[in-house]
C-alpha cells in the first residue's frame, strides 16, 4: 500500500537536505517510516494479547458451561450487533480510502474519509449505548447491578428475586420475538398464578426433540404441581428426566413470580429456524449460578473494545486537524497509515466479538 512511496525514499540520498518530519536519529524517511510501522505492528500485537486474555476467559467459561452461554446470549440482539458490524466494516473501508487519499495528496478527500470514519465510530458507540441501556433496564449490568449475581441487592424498588424474574422474562420474551416464535408473555405474562414454595416442574430436556408434548406439559405445569414435584430433583436427573426447581437454586423459592413460571416452562422449538431456544428453567442449578459471568465477560470485552473505539475517534480528530493544516503529503503520511492500522485492528476485534457473543447456537 505504501511501497511506492517507500521505494521513492529509498533511492533518495541525503543531498536534498532532510525533510522537516525526519527525526535526527534516522538516516532516511524510508527508514523512519518502516520503523514507525514496525512499532505500530508490535503495539497491535500487545493489543491482541490483551484482548487474548478476555477471549481466553470466554473460552474457559463457555467450554465449562455451554448452557450458560446458550441462554445468556438471548439477552443480546443480533440485529444491533449486525448493524455495528456493518458500520465498523464500512468505517474500515473509509479509513483505507483515507490512507490512499493521503498517499495521493488528495487533502479534501482525506478529510472527508476521516470524517466518515469518525462518524462510523459515533454510530457504533450510539448503538452500543442503546444496547447498554437495555442491559441496565433488564438488570443485566455487570457485578452487583446484575440480578443474576448472587450478591445482587435489588434495584429500582425491586427486590432481588423480582428483578431477577423480570430479567428472565424479558430476555426470553425478546428472544422469542426475535426468533419468530410466539411470545412467551402472551401465554404466561398475565397468568399471575401465585406460586407455591414447593412447586417443581418437569421439563423435557432432550435437546433436539421437536417436542410435541411441550405445550401440554406447560399447561399442566402452569396450573398445578405434578406428582413429580414431590421428588427431589437430583434423583430424577439421574434417570434422564430433568426436573428443575424454578427457583434460583439457593434463593428462597417463596417469591418466585408467576411471569417467570410461565416463561420458564416454555421449552420451545422455533419451527422456522429449527433451533431450540434454551429456557431458564432448563438450566442446571449450577448453570443458573453461573449466568452472570457471561454478562461480566460481555461488558469487559465490549467495554474495553468501546474504549478503543473512543481512542480511535480521538485519533481521527487529531488526524483531521493535521490534515487541515496541510501536514500530510505523498512524502509523509505515516500517521494516517498507522492510525489506519489501529482502526482496522479495532474493527477486527469486533469481527470476533460479534459471533462469539451474539451468535451462539
Amino acid at each position: 500500500m505504501s511501497t511506492a512511496a517507500d521505494l521513492a525514499h529509498a533511492d533518495d540520498p541525503h543531498a536534498h537536505g532532510n525533510p522537516a518530519h525526519l527525526a535526527h536519529h534516522f538516516d532516511t524517511p524510508a527508514q523512519q517510516f518502516t520503523t514507525n510501522k514496525l512499532g505500530m505492528w508490535t503495539f497491535l500485537a500487545t493489543e491482541v494479547l490483551m484482548f487474548g486474555g478476555l477471549f481466553c476467559a470466554y473460552s474457559v467459561y463457555r467450554y465449562n458451561h455451554p448452557q450458560v452461554y446458550l441462554w445468556a446470549h438471548n439477552a443480546l440482539d443480533p440485529f444491533w450487533g449486525m448493524v455495528n458490524t456493518i458500520v465498523l466494516l464500512a468505517s474500515s473501508f473509509t479509513m483505507a480510502w483515507g490512507v490512499r487519499a493521503a498517499q495521493l495528496n488528495q487533502r479534501g478527500l482525506l478529510q472527508i474519509m476521516l470524517t466518515l470514519t469518525f462518524l462510523g465510530g459515533v454510530v457504533f458507540m450510539c448503538v452500543k449505548a442503546v444496547e447498554y441501556k437495555a442491559k441496565w433496564q433488564h438488570f443485566l449490568f455487570p457485578g452487583e447491578f446484575n440480578s443474576l449475581n448472587a450478591e445482587f441487592k435489588g434495584r429500582d424498588g425491586k427486590s432481588p428475586s423480582e428483578a431477577r424474574a423480570i430479567t428472565i422474562e424479558e430476555v426470553e420474551h425478546e428472544a422469542h420475538l426475535r426468533s419468530g416464535a410466539e411470545p412467551a408473555s402472551a401465554e404466561g405474562g398475565e397468568h399471575a398464578a401465585p406460586a407455591t414454595e414447593t412447586e417443581v416442574k418437569p421439563v423435557q430436556h432432550t435437546q433436539n426433540s421437536a417436542d410435541v408434548k411441550s405445550g401440554a406439559a406447560e399447561h399442566a405445569a402452569g396450573t398445578a404441581p405434578t406428582e413429580a414435584s414431590k421428588e427431589p430433583p437430583i434423583a430424577l436427573q439421574a434417570i434422564g428426566t430433568v426436573v428443575t426447581a424454578p427457583d434460583l437454586g439457593n434463593e428462597s423459592a417463596a417469591i418466585v413470580p408467576p411471569t417467570m413460571m410461565a416463561s420458564g416452562t416454555n421449552s420451545k422449538v422455533d419451527e422456522k429456524v429449527g433451533h431450540h431456544l434454551t429456557t431458564y428453567s432448563e438450566l442446571e442449578p449450577l448453570d443458573k449460578s453461573q449466568l452472570q459471568t457471561f454478562f461480566s465477560i460481555y461488558f469487559m470485552m465490549t467495554g474495553l473494545h468501546g474504549i478503543h473505539v473512543l481512542v480511535g475517534m480521538g485519533l481521527m480528530v487529531w488526524l483531521f486537524l493535521r490534515a487541515s493544516a496541510g501536514q500530510f503529503t505523498s512524502q509523509y503520511f505515516a500517521p494516517v497509515d498507522l492510525v489506519g492500522l489501529y482502526w482496522h485492528l479495532v474493527d477486527l476485534i469486533w469481527i470476533f466479538l460479534f459471533p462469539l457473543l451474539y451468535l451462539i447456537h
Binding site: G39, G53, E151
Partner: protein
C-alpha cells in the same frame, strides 16, 4: 590525544574533557524533565528505580528483623497486629522489588543508556515514547507510593489516619484471589492499578527496543555481529511486549472484580480463582525472564571483556537467550502443581520446565569456556560476574527439584522456594545489575571508581547473600513455610543466621552505593575506554556527547579486542592500528560473518 590518525581515534578517545557532553548539554531542571535523550532518560530511571530498591530493601530488613524470634517482636503485646504488619512487610517488599526495581532495572537503566550507543545510533527508535514510558513509570510508582504512605500513616497514627483505599498491601505480591478480591482490607485496587500502569511502561520500553534493534543497526552489524547484551535485551523485549498485556487484562479484571464484584474469579459468583492463577503466571513466569535475561546479557559482556578474550560460542549464547524467552512462555503451570490442575498438565509443564535448563546451562558453559585461557582481570565488575556464575548455578539447579512434581509437593510454599528465586533474582540479577552499573559507570559519568572498595563491597555482598539464603534452603527443606510471621522454636537458629546475613548483605550494598557516589563526585576522570572492550559505546568519549558519536564508528566483531592496547590508567585502552593480528585461536574467529 593519542597519536593515531584514524578518524575514530581522533574523536573517539581523547582524554581532554569534551567541550560538550550529554550531561552539560542543556541546563536546568526542564532540560532534564523534557529531554528525549536516551542517556538522560536512563539516568532519570536510575534515580527512581534505585529509590525503589532502597524502599524494597527497607521492607526486607524489617521482615527479617521480625523473624529474629518466633514470637511477636515489633508489637509484643498485640500478636495479631504484628502478624498483620508482617503481611504488609513481605507483600510490599515483593511488590516494590518486582514491579518497581527488578523488571525495569537493567532494561530501563542500562538498556536505555547503552542500547543506542551499542548500535552506533543517535537515539532509540521512538525517543518521545521513551520519555512517555518514564513518566508512566513515575505515575505507576505514585500509585504504589500512595499504598505505602497510606499503610505507614495508618500504622504510625494507630489507625487514626487512613487514606481511602490505601491501607498498605497484605495479599502477597501475587494478588491471589479470592483473598485479594474479597477478604483483604488493604489497598489492593491502588496497588493493582499501580502494577497495571507500570506494566505499560515496561511494554513501551520493550516495543522501543525491538524497533531500535531491528531498524537502527548500522551498516555492517548484522544480527550475528550484535553485542550479546543486545540479544539479551531483544529477548527481554519480546517477553515484555507479549506477556505484559496479559498481566494488564488480569489486573483489570481483578480491579473490576474487587470494585464491581463481576465474579470472573470468585467462586461464590460463578467464577474460577484458578483462572486467575493461570492468567497471573502466564505473565509472571515470563516476567522472571524479563528479570534475568538482561542480566545474562550484562554478564556476557563482562566475562569476555575482563578475560581479554573473544567470547566463546557467540551464537549459542545469542540463540539461547531467545530460546529461554520462548520456552519461558510455556512453563507457567509449574507454579500451580498444588492448585488442582490435572496430573497430565502438571507433567507437561514439568517437562518443559526442565528444558529451560538447557539454554541456561549453554550460557554458563560458554562463559566458563570464555574464562578458560583468558587473561582474567579481577576488576570490580568481574568480581560481580564471577559471583553471578556461582550463584546462578545454585539458583538454577535448585529450580530442578521444584520443577519435579514429586519433590515440589513437599517443597511448595516453603523457604526452599524463597531461597531458590532469591538466588536467581538477587544472586543473579542484582549481581549482574551492579556489575553492569560499575562497568558502565565510567561511560555514564566520565568518572572512575575505587576498584579496591568495589571489590570489598562485592565480596561482602556475596558472603552476606549466601548466609541469608543458604540457611533458607535448609529450613525450607525442613518444612518451614514461607510468609509465616511465627514459627516453631527449632527454626530460630536458621532465621537468626538468615537475618544476620541480610544485615551483612545490606552493608555490601551500602558500600557499592557509597563507592559509586564517591566516584560520581570525586572520582578520577575516566578514559574513553577503561576496560578495552570493543563494543561501540567504548568508541566514543566518556561521557558521550549529546549526539553520541562525533564520528560514526566502524562496525566490526564486537568481541575482537586485539586492536585495543592499554596505555596507562589515565588513558585507558586506545586503538592501535599496528596491533599484531590475534594469535590465540579464540580471537575473532568464531563469529559468523
Amino acid at each position: 590525544m593519542s597519536s593515531i590518525a584514524t578518524p575514530i581515534s581522533k574523536h573517539g578517545h581523547g582524554n581532554e574533557p569534551a567541550a560538550d557532553n550529554y550531561l552539560t548539554h542543556g541546563r536546568g531542571i526542564l532540560s532534564w524533565a523534557l529531554t528525549i535523550d536516551h542517556k538522560r532518560i536512563g539516568l532519570m530511571y536510575m534515580v527512581f528505580v534505585l529509590l525503589s530498591f532502597f524502599i524494597g530493601g527497607i521492607f526486607a530488613v524489617l521482615l527479617r528483623t521480625e523473624l529474629l524470634g518466633p514470637g511477636a517482636l515489633f508489637i509484643p503485646k498485640d500478636e495479631v497486629a504484628t502478624w498483620r504488619l508482617y503481611n504488609h512487610f513481605f507483600t510490599l517488599h515483593g511488590a516494590v522489588m518486582v514491579f518497581m526495581f527488578i523488571i525495569p532495572a537493567i532494561p530501563a537503566i542500562l538498556g536505555n543508556f547503552v542500547l543506542p550507543l551499542m548500535l552506533g545510533a543517535k537515539d532509540v527508535a521512538f525517543p518521545k515514547l521513551n520519555l512517555l514510558s518514564f513518566y508512566i513509570y513515575v505515575l505507576g510508582a505514585a500509585f504504589m507510593l500512595y499504598v505505602l504512605v497510606g499503610g505507614t500513616l495508618s500504622v504510625a497514627t494507630g489507625g487514626k489516619i487512613n487514606l481511602p483505599g490505601g491501607f498498605g498491601l497484605d495479599t502477597g505480591w501475587t494478588f491471589y484471589t479470592p483473598y485479594s478480591t474479597t477478604a483483604s482490607k488493604s489497598g489492593v485496587v491502588a496497588a493493582t492499578m499501580g502494577a497495571f500502569i507500570l506494566g505499560f511502561s515496561s511494554i513501551l520500553t520493550g516495543l522501543n527496543f525491538i524497533a531500535s534493534i531491528h531498524m537502527l543497526r548500522p551498516k555492517g552489524m548484522n544480527w550475528f555481529r550484535m553485542p550479546l547484551f543486545l540479544w539479551a535485551i531483544y529477548s527481554t523485549a519480546l517477553i515484555q511486549v507479549l506477556a505484559t498485556p496479559v498481566l494488564a487484562i488480569t489486573l483489570l479484571l481483578l480491579t473490576a472484580e474487587r470494585t464491581l464484584r463481576i465474579g470472573i474469579f470468585d467462586p461464590n459468583l460463578g467464577g474460577d480463582p484458578v483462572l486467575y492463577q493461570h492468567f497471573f503466571w502466564f505473565y509472571s513466569h515470563p516476567a522472571v525472564y524479563i528479570m534475568i535475561l538482561p542480566g545474562f546479557g550484562v554478564i556476557s559482556e563482562l566475562i569476555t571483556t575482563f578475560s581479554r578474550r573473544h567470547v566463546f560460542g557467540y551464537q549459542f549464547i545469542a540463540i539461547s537467550s531467545v530460546a529461554i524467552a520462548l520456552l519461558g512462555f510455556l512453563v507457567w503451570g509449574h507454579h500451580m502443581f498444588t492448585s488442582g490442575q490435572s496430573d497430565l498438565t502438571s507433567a507437561i509443564f514439568s517437562l518443559i520446565t526442565f528444558s529451560v535448563a538447557i539454554p541456561s546451562a549453554v550460557k554458563v558453559f560458554n562463559w566458563m569456556a570464555t574464562l578458560k585461557g583468558g587473561s582474567i582481570h579481577l576488576n570490580t565488575p568481574m568480581i560481580y560476574a564471577l559471583c553471578f556464575i556461582g550463584l546462578f548455578t545454585i539458583g538454577g539447579l535448585t529450580g530442578l527439584p521444584l520443577a519435579t512434581i514429586a519433590s515440589d509437593i513437599p517443597l511448595h510454599d516453603t523457604y526452599f522456594v524463597v531461597a531458590h528465586f532469591h538466588y536467581v533474582m538477587v544472586g543473579s540479577m542484582v549481581f549482574a545489575f551492579l556489575g553492569g552499573l560499575y562497568y558502565w559507570w565510567p561511560k555514564m559519568f566520565g568518572k572512575m571508581f575505587n576498584d579496591n572498595v568495589g571489590r570489598v563491597g562485592a565480596i561482602i555482598l556475596f558472603v552476606g547473600f549466601n548466609v541469608t539464603f543458604l540457611s533458607q534452603f535448609i529450613m525450607g527443606s525442613l518444612g518451614m513455610p514461607r510468609r509465616y510471621a511465627s514459627y516453631p522454636p527449632e527454626f530460630q537458629i536458621y532465621h537468626v543466621i538468615s537475618t544476620l546475613g541480610a544485615y551483612t548483605l545490606s552493608i555490601g550494598l551500602f558500600i557499592a552505593a557509597g563507592n559509586l557516589l564517591h566516584a560520581l563526585l570525586w572520582g578520577r576522570k575516566a578514559p574513553a575506554n577503561p576496560w578495552g572492550s570493543n563494543t561501540l559505546e567504548w568508541h566514543t568519549t566518556s561521557p558521550p556527547p549529546h549526539d553520541n558519536f562525533a564520528v560514526q564508528p566502524s562496525v566490526g566483531d564486537p568481541y575482537d579486542m586485539h586492536n585495543w592496547v592499554k596505555k596507562s590508567d589515565e588513558e585507558g585502552y586506545v586503538l592501535d592500528p599496528d596491533a599484531p593480528e590475534p594469535t590465540s585461536p579464540g580471537h575473532g574467529t568464531s563469529v559468523a560473518h
